[in-house]
Point group: C2
Chain length 218, copies 2
């Protein structure tokens, strides 16, 4: 299995058994999530901004308005830490101390670059849309030249990335297993509800299947 | 309604109508979420780490092992950006360009301080547990003195915080409303499944109600 080389930044100081450095499981987490938290430094201050993303091959793409503070900072090529977190459950141990969560998270370090070439930009926007909701792009009215210009797209290489994963039941101290306390996991999942039609919908179009059957991590 | 003063860091440069500076809705978002992304600078690099949290009055508490890189950095009193993001839905517009998400996010800036006093620390740990799953703390085996010592608790004041919120249907360009494209919102929610008992459960305890009926944002 292809691995991603560990660096000082991605190496885990604690609980190293939770670390994942193989490319395939790292990419699988990135493909199930669709919101990342982007950390960067501006005027000496840390900022953490949530935004959508897509993975294509060994790159992460983010996009936004040209006027966005985050994108205007990132396109300077500054250091970025991009984190994706999936919460899978609450882990209820017998002891308060050993309570935990089941989760899968990925941290990516690097510098982003602006995607300027027209067709590469359009392809990245398509990937961002398809990553959020597969099947939608071809149904939607395509971006005009003006809209393309108003949108910034940034590419972050997946050269320095790692995952941290916790799965399974609680781990209690040996002497606590006989306690009269329920222990286990409350599973959590991001679930889609019934699509809500825009009240201004003028046409008689059925709800598309990709909206009705929306599900992450299929 | 009590407002939180805007600062250069919390003021929105774009879409200012999405900004929320009243204390009550900001606190409501913090109370519905339970995972934050903490951004800080170490060795000149930005780091973004997911972790649990709780709000008590005008403070946010986070905790972790004394050995954690994040906590060892934060307890130095460095600048922190703590972000909480709730995803409420995918917003499908007629045009690719106007696709969006419904979300509620809070950003907090400040410096954290270590909670050292024994009873304050215990109270914060109780709050962290009750914030994650109300009702659990009193059922669990309480922390020992050694466990308390191994845990660091940090307090971040909610003095500089703001929310950003998008709700409602897509907003398309006027000329796009007649297009033959379905538009609307796919609602998303973090939902709890059936609790999974620890296979090592030795006692015959029923699943507690707080685990069986777990729900955020009640």
């Amino acid at each position: 299995m292809k691995t991603i080389p560990q660096t000082k930044r991605t190496a885990l100081k604690r609980l190293p058994k939770r670390g994942v450095f193989e490319q395939e499981p790292v990419y699988r987490i990135l493909d199930e999530g669709f919101i990342c938290h982007v950390g960067f430094i501006a005027d000496g201050q840390p900022f953490v901004i949530p935004t959508g993303y897509a993975r294509v091959d060994d790159s992460i793409y983010v996009h936004g308005s040209q006027a966005s503070r985050m994108l205007r900072n990132l396109e300077k090529g500054i250091d970025v830490c991009l984190t994706v977190t999936l919460i899978d459950g609450l882990v209820l141990a017998r002891s308060a101390f050993h309570h935990s969560m089941n989760y899968r998270s990925v941290v990516v370090f690097g510098q982003a670059t602006l995607v300027t070439e027209r067709e590469a930009k359009r392809a990245a926007l398509r990937a961002l849309s398809e990553h959020m909701i597969p099947g939608r792009w071809d149904d939607a009215r395509q971006p005009t030249e003006a809209e393309l210009k108003m949108t910034s797209v940034l590419r972050l290489p997946l050269a320095e990335a790692s995952a941290k994963v916790r799965v399974g039941p609680p781990l209690d101290d040996d002497e606590d297993y006989s306690l009269n306390v329920w222990a286990g996991v409350v599973p959590l999942k991001l679930v889609a509800g019934e699509p809500i039609a825009d009240p201004r919908l003028q046409v008689d179009v059925p709800v598309p299947r990709y909206a009705k059957e929306y599900e992450r991590g299929k």
